[in-house]
């Protein structure tokens, strides 16, 4: 007896409803004509002898939102953290393959990791503002790069907060402690903080998973606006979210050796309506994961 198939909604109809979501949200051309911003070539990551992810070949286009989806434990976040070398911090983690930003390898010898992270910012799963004032949170990055003139900092802070759609809510309380903000506001503050150093790419690791639906909606809206200025790579558990915000989608799976790998990569519309791979189709239609 087929006990796997307990989904009352037939897959085809579910796919159609997802496609509806997509045609609403994608008001720009999802075309692959935009220039390439980042690329991974045969990227893999090992913890000691254990290979956590492998054979990752992705092409991330400029001013687009690229979503990474897949079941838990498939290495989505691990791959994301390879993209700005945050995995350097993990003891005995080793990266193989290449990650290119504008054609040059981030893992080449002599590359300054501080420089890499300046160009490729990151927003984390849980909002993690510094225990400082709202102003100082945003000004932290510019100060790192030696900007100390008050007038310039004021401008950067206002600009970043405006871009993160937070300015109107906090403009009268910039000196308040960041912890006084709500979770959603804190996450937008973290986005503003990342924007303040003018990165070219922003990596987002399930940025809305700790937030309520309204705060999630605002973050998604923000992501769609931000792609005009930066390239965004977002890891998400939520397939609807990927469908709503992204232009291209990478689908990851985990094999029987617990290694994560890339199953399919393509325009979001295609992944969600006409996936080429059987596994992608099964996952998208909710048959597992």
């Amino acid at each position: 007896m087929n006990t796997m198939n307990i989904n009352p909604q037939p897959p085809v109809e579910k796919l159609r409803s997802l496609a509806g979501v997509i045609s609403h949200s994608l008001d720009v051309d999802p075309g692959s004509s935009r220039p390439l911003k980042m690329e991974t070539r045969d990227l893999g990551l090992f913890y000691g002898a254990f290979q956590a992810v492998g054979n990752i070949d992705m092409r991330i286009r400029a001013n687009q939102v690229t979503a990474i989806i897949g079941p838990s434990g498939c290495g989505k976040s691990t791959v994301l953290r390879c993209l700005n070398r945050m995995n350097d911090l993990v003891p005995n983690a080793r990266v193989s393959g290449q990650v290119l930003l504008d054609g040059s390898n981030l893992y080449a010898p002599g590359v300054d990791v501080v420089n890499v992270r300046r160009q490729i910012g990151m927003v984390f799963q849980r909002p993690n503002p510094f225990p400082k004032s709202i102003y100082e949170n945003v000004a932290y990055g510019p100060r790192l790069y030696g900007i100390n003139r008050r007038a310039i900092l004021d401008e950067i802070v206002e600009n970043s907060l405006r871009h993160a759609a937070l300015w109107d809510e906090v403009k009268d309380k910039l000196n308040h402690h960041a912890y006084a903000l709500s979770g959603g506001q804190q996450q937008r503050l973290c986005i503003a903080r990342a924007l303040a150093v003018e990165p070219e790419v922003i990596l987002m690791d399930e940025p809305a998973s700790a937030l309520d639906p309204i705060a999630t909606y605002r973050i998604e809206e923000l992501i769609r606006q931000l792609r005009e200025d930066v390239t965004i790579v977002i890891v998400t558990h939520n397939m609807q979210q990927a469908a709503r915000v992204s232009d291209e989608t990478a689908f990851f799976m985990v094999n029987d050796r617990r290694m994560g790998y890339l199953v399919e990569f393509g325009p979001t519309t295609q992944i969600f309506t006409n996936p080429k791979n059987k596994q992608t189709e099964d996952y998208i239609s909710g048959r597992f994961g």
Binding site: P8, N84, P91, V114, R118, M122, F130, L144, A194, V197
Partner: protein
């Protein structure tokens, strides 16, 4: 289809609604009876533990009451503001020891805090490197070294080289004593700082040292200060390391040194040198010396010094603990 999957699920668990769960009744005989020996044993043991708790607390209460009773009558303004008078004369105070205690506390903090805090950062960041392991092992061993041995170390390192006892030597000995406490508490506080704060700073392109200095240290500052207070409290009560280093000095008066220095138009460096580079007294050192003397007025002074010292250390400890609790509640909230 839905109905079929439902009935399927019912079959899997193997429980049907007509079959309510029942508990075995075989254990019913232990239901409490009024006069069970277990209750008497329970009461006895409870009484015993209560008694032992009181017994353990008794010395503390006794010490406090006794020291207050013997010391309080001799604590007056002169005790804090005057130097000792010659033997046989009434009055006078222990201003020299109070000043010496402050100078020693400042010097030892100055010597111990920078290396202690930085070492704690290293150990917290690289716990499993050979140096990290060595430092941690070292602090454990150091905290077990008898304080008189540390005094001897200060003696051979500074007193013997310089040819005289000094506040600097005493401060160094106390600093060595404070190091393990500072390293350990600072390390614990650094570990309490959420890792994602560090990641946030590094993801902005912050170098490690800047992250440590402007994100982790401020976040851990309250805890670091608490550890520092505990270390000071411990060092301020020590006598043994000072016997070989600070020695004691009944004529130590910073006010007189400064006034004399200004009158002789000495430079700031010279005056500071005269304050730091001569033997000093401290409250526990004075207490130790006065208590051995056969003159009642000196013994009275020793009791008063004991009271002042005890209050000082209790205050420091209490303050540190309050601070720690406040900090912990803030971390949770």
């Amino acid at each position: 289809m839905t109905g079929r999957t439902l009935s399927n699920a019912t079959n899997i668990t193997g429980v049907s609604p007509d079959d309510p769960p029942t508990l075995p009744r075989r254990l019913a005989y232990i239901h409490p009876r009024q006069s069970h020996p277990r209750r008497a044993v329970n009461a006895l043991m409870l009484g015993l533990t209560g008694l032992m708790t009181l017994l353990a607390l008794a010395p503390l209460v006794w010490i406090i009451v006794y020291v207050v009773a013997r010391g309080l009558p001799h604590v007056n303004l002169a005790f804090f503001t005057q130097l000792p008078r010659p033997l046989g004369m009434e009055g006078g105070g222990v201003l020299h020891a109070i000043q010496g205690t402050i100078v020693l506390a400042l010097l030892s903090s100055l010597f111990a805090t920078p290396p202690g805090v930085l070492a704690a950062f290293y150990v917290a960041r690289y716990p499993n490197t050979p140096l990290g392991i060595a430092v941690r092992f070292g602090t454990d061993v150091l905290s077990g070294v008898p304080s008189i041995v540390i005094g001897l170390f200060g003696y051979s390192l500074i007193v013997k080289q310089q040819g005289h006892y000094s506040a600097v030597a005493g401060g160094l000995a106390l600093a060595i004593l404070m190091l393990p406490t500072i390293i350990r508490t600072t390390e614990e506080m650094i570990k309490l700082v959420p890792a994602n704060l560090r990641e946030a700073s590094l993801a902005l392109g912050g170098p490690e040292w800047k992250t440590a200095l402007s994100v982790i240290l401020p976040a851990a500052a309250n805890g670091v200060a608490t550890g520092f207070l505990l270390a000071i409290a411990r060092a301020s009560g020590e006598t043994a390391p000072l016997l070989f280093t600070a020695l004691g000095n009944e004529r130590y008066d910073i006010g007189a040194i400064v006034r004399g220095g200004i009158a002789a138009q000495q430079s700031l460096g010279t005056i500071l040198g005269r304050i730091l580079n001569q033997p000093v007294d401290s409250l526990p050192l004075t207490l130790w010396k006065y208590a051995q003397q056969p003159y009642p007025e000196r013994v009275d002074k020793a009791w008063a010094a004991a009271l002042v010292l005890m209050v000082l250390i209790l205050l420091l400890n209490g303050f540190a603990r309050l601070w720690m609790q406040h900090r912990a509640s803030k971390m949770r909230g």
